[in-house]
Amino acid sequence: MPKLLALAGGAALAGCQWLVWCYAPEEATLGLMQKIFYVHLPLAWWALISFFVVFLGSLAVLARRSEAADRLCAAAAEVGVLFSGLTLLTGMIWARRSWGVWWTWDPRLSTALVMWFIYAAYLLLRGLDMAPERRRTVCAVVGVAAFLDVPLVFVSARIWRSIHPAVFASRGGGLEPEMKLTAVACVAAMGLFWAALVWLRKRQLDLAARLEAADADED
């Protein structure tokens, strides 16, 4: 089932490539380069959703001591770090081409970077050698604190450079219908792919946990 989902996601992403390259018109001011947007935006969104899933899973771990929720957190955090890392890289390439700099203190870009740091540390914490029960609660606490930090990071980054032109916001309203359709399709396709990745990883972790338990029962 998850493999089917992965295939569907892959196919959908491939289909979106056609939309991106042949269907959506070229942006007037930003030119061809704007087409990165169709990968960049879905990556960012699904990274944020991953972290939200980590938050919800962490709450479930704390409230119900659920081990399955903990494994879901692990899977979602890994995919989230991957997606936000790719968001950063595509964003940097875009920035280099469009504005001539690799990095600029845009609120969204900075928030993505700080989130990447936070959840990379979260994954580091997961890899530590701790008693399983302790690791679950420790990671859940960090998972909750990390997500609550996100809006604060975003607001602070915005105050930090309050004079920065709102590059993204101004274009959000000005998308042509074809572009909007393409963007929505890309987000949906990326969502399928994201779900497949998280599902695959979660299933692996479930299997590993079952094997662990089976080993324990033998003694």
């Binding site: 030119g31 061809l32 380069m33 087409k35 990165i36 990968v39 960049h40 990556l43 890994e78 995919v79 991957l82 890392g85 790719l86 890289l89 595509t90 390439i93 875009w94 280099r96 081409r97 792919f193 990745l197 695959l200 990883r201 692996q204 299997l207 590993a208 094997l211 089976a214 080993d215 033998e218």
Partner: protein, 45 residues
């Protein structure tokens, strides 16, 4: 064509990233399959 070059680089980065994670998943899958096989052997015999 300079823009296209940048565009290709960005897409390449994305697919390399996905590929790396999928490779990681595949590696884990293989390790798990090995462990499962070993466990089944020991459980039967």
């Amino acid at each position: 064509m300079d823009t296209l070059y940048w565009l290709l680089a960005a897409n390449a980065v994305v697919w390399i990233g996905f590929g790396a994670y999928l490779a990681f998943l595949a590696g884990r899958e293989r390790a798990l399959a090995l462990r499962l096989a070993r466990w089944e052997r020991s459980a039967r015999g």
